[in-house]
């Protein structure tokens, strides 16, 4: 399995060929608390890196999710419709949000490695 990369807005992406699987980090899921609804884009929608792609509603608040990479929505995680708490139980695996067919694989240079993301979280909380 390829490495999980992160944004400073707490999204993650795993790139496999031309496809990136996208979700929110375990840290983000914990901060949000129980997730009760995920408003996901339509399959086929065009997304631009840094643009809003989804909204998650937790028991506490609504939060926007931004595209870590540009491309076209290839698939959304249908399991979140009936079981949004899956994001809390398995944020970086089964609780993925969507898959993006990438328009520019080179954009991955903007993302953080797992180590850099952990360091970023420590700086944030310091």
């Amino acid at each position: 399995m390829s490495a999980t990369l992160y944004t400073k807005q707490h999204e993650w992406a795993r790139i496999e060929g031309e496809i990136a699987i996208v979700g929110i980090s375990a840290y983000a899921a914990e901060q949000l608390g129980d997730i009760v609804y995920a408003d996901l884009p339509e399959k086929g929608a065009t997304v631009a890196r840094g643009g809003e792609i989804a909204v998650v509603e937790s028991v506490k608040a609504a939060s926007e999710i931004y595209a870590p990479l540009s491309g076209e929505v290839a698939e959304i995680n249908a399991a979140l419709e009936g079981d949004p708490e899956l994001v809390n139980r398995s944020p970086e695996k089964e609780g993925w949000f969507l898959k993006i067919r990438l328009s520019d694989v080179g954009e991955r240079r903007h993302l953080l490695s797992a180590e850099d993301y952990q360091r970023f979280l420590q700086e944030e909380s310091a």
Partner: protein, 392 residues
Amino acid sequence: MSSAAEGAEAIATVLEATPLEALHRSLGAKMTAFAGFHLPLHFRDGILAEHRHTRSHASLFDVSHMGQADLRASASMMERIFPADIQTLPSLPLGGMRYTFLLNEAGGILDDLIIARLGEDCFRIIVNASRKGEDFRHIETLLGKEGSLTPRPDLALLALQGPEAARIVRAHADNEESAIAAMPAMSSAETRLADRRVLLFRSGYTGEDGFEIALSSEDAAPLAETLLRHDALAPAGLGARDSLRLEAGLCLYGSDMDETTSPIEAGLAWSIPKRRREDRAFPGAEIIARQIARGAARRRVGIRALGRIPARRGARLLNEKGQEIGEITSGAVVPDGEGLKAIAMAYLPPSFSKPGCRLRFIARGKAIAAEVAALPFRPSRTHRQPQRTEKP
């Protein structure tokens, strides 16, 4: 990810700790700021798990932030301040309690509170944390020379709520099991729990049977630790407290009621009995009487979202023609069988207040389908009848 409403972690203000602060941290609490206090928002399993656990077993809440005070006044003086029936309220050993209001001259709600009668001229009041300073000053002014108020910041308050609450309390009652079993909802007793002196109230804010336990600050953490050894009992925070009370149809002061709201608009006329409506001895009585006779211009209603998008406080409400008719005063997402449902409360004109009335609320710029629902969303399971004690 960016959050529209970050948790209210206060940075600049100094927050008061309750006597259970260290215990909360050891239990993995995620803390938040509430009414000047540092309190658990939730523990390790999260708000929904704590909500479910309270409904199925029992939860322990730290509500030490609430304002307790002792009042010395005659029942007739108390009735000049509060619109409740105080005259017929029994004193300890099995004291009576009332849910009532502090009203302004316009019948607006300055606070909602509990009064427990301890003795002939002696009462304990429990008020909202955010209001206690103003409440106490206002009550002292109204009492004048005919009574006195003594704040009790030396006391903590625990709430033990849920279907297993009575079993847990009885297990720690020192030879007074039957006395506790005989306590109906809204009664109080002085007793000992796990060898600590407590004033026990059979009351709560969840719609479940349960107790609120007033005791000295030093005794609070040791008693909480003892109680939490029960497998059926888990700690719960303010998040679940809020969703449980909303599901039970109970108001949160500052959200679902304030000084621009009357008890009649809030659908709480039951708390002002006939004799009090007629004697009109309390502040705002004329306006209250007029609203009872003619009906209020708006009424508190339940709202059920028809999807799962939460209806949050401040969301505008539209009728089917798209006209604005009110706004959400508080909202929550609660368990619904295996799933979840979004519920809320609002004030609406009487023509839109019938259960089933279709409307929409605005969330993130979109109009979301909803309907008026009967309150409470879930029937109360408080302990109305004294329990029959089984003789061996």
